[in-house]
Symmetry: C2
Subunit: 205 residues, 2 copies
DNA sequence: ATGTTGACAGACAGACCTGTCTTGTTCAAG
DNA sequence: CTTGAACAAGACAGGTCTGTCTGTCAACAT
């Protein structure tokens, strides 16, 4: 199962889902848009049309809801990325990563990375998922580097991830346009340095 | 006037400064460490040993204090950077940027970029200084690229800034070590591609 | 000597926060 | 039909938030 950018943004009007789903989807939308601390339980309850006790039956605390939100965000984001790059060889997968990110940056409602933002807000005692998400993404990129036969796949993956994070922050603060070119150039340069003989070309799009 | 990393962290125990200074320095420390929303006015007032009315005489609202904090942070951070790289030629200045950042990442109490964090917390209506800071830093880097005679200084500066932002976020979330190598490699690769004939060597340190 | 200014201390209002509890309704399984 | 689970609506408690207000005191200028 894959996700489109719309799925990543979360469903719009909530149909006749059970209370837990409505709460989680509402939190998904509000937490990402307004931040964790700025979004109160009361608002989530009101907008999801759920009783307060129904909320506390499914989530023992706000922190538990935040954890569930980050888990869901991680699953959807990774699924979106895999779907966006499905069917590509590992070399093309890596080369197309900047294009996928561009799509995300330009999507309506884009407000940066939920895990970077959450970590920035919560500080050192941030939910573990903020760091876990980045580790899993790094592992995925490293795997593709190894599959592509690149030398020092761990180093290449670290370089690509760092560029990727920088692009997310730049796009969030200054707009998608300023991030696009720099991200593409850094990727091309890194892959070219790591790829050895064969040149990297931009697939599709 | 320049600032050391200690100055960047703010003064420790507050001497016999006037009320406004004590409030601002306390806010400087607490806002950076715990975030803007997590830091209440009451705590700032208590820790700065100031009456509430004295606070509101100098700052009409919490938002005004946040703005003043970001202004001060911008001035100190830029002054720290200039002091850290003072006396270098523009080529060496650019090549030494990753080393300066490393020093910052390893400093006690490092918790990422106050402007990235502030923007992540405040969302679209974030204080203008969060974006202004990045623009001024980009302009400074671009100027050094131009002085160094690099082709397409704006593009090179955008690439370096993106790598720099990525390194800040990586260091904040996963530790200074994971950011160090990748930042150095991306800088070396970018400067080498832009520098043309002459090779880039790491100055000093 | 007297008025002014700045600051400290703390009460207070009104809003919002998380989390608990009560009451009544719907619906489905036994 | 009864029983119990899930749910809606909302009062409530206890805390915290920003911002206002009243007093009191010391330094200082006139």
């Amino acid at each position: 199962m894959t996700f489109s950018l719309d799925d990543l943004a979360g469903p719009g009007p909530l149909p006749d889902q059970d209370a837990r789903t409505r709460v989680l989807e509402t939190a998904y939308r509000l937490f990402y848009r307004y931040g964790l601390r700025a979004t109160g339980i009361d608002r989530i309850i009101a907008e999801s049309g759920v009783a307060k006790m129904s909320f506390y039956r499914h989530f023992p605390s706000k922190q538990a809801l935040i954890d569930a939100y980050l888990d869901l965000r991680h699953v959807r984001w990774m699924a979106w990325l895999e779907g966006r790059l499905a069917g590509l060889t590992s070399r093309d997968w890596l080369a197309a990563l900047p294009d996928a990110l561009d799509d995300w940056f330009g999507a309506p409602g884009f407000r940066g990375c939920a895990f970077i933002n959450g970590h920035a807000e919560a500080g050192p005692d941030a939910p573990a998922m903020t760091v876990t998400h980045k580790r899993e993404l790094a592992a995925r990129i490293e795997q593709q580097c190894a599959d592509a036969g690149l030398a020092r796949p761990a180093e290449v993956a670290a370089d690509l991830l760092l560029a990727l994070e920088g692009a997310i922050v730049r796009a969030q603060m200054d707009g998608a346009d300023v991030a696009r070119g720099a991200l593409h150039r850094l990727f091309a340069r890194t892959l070219s340095a790591a790829g050895g003989e064969r040149a990297w070309r931009s697939p599709e799009r």
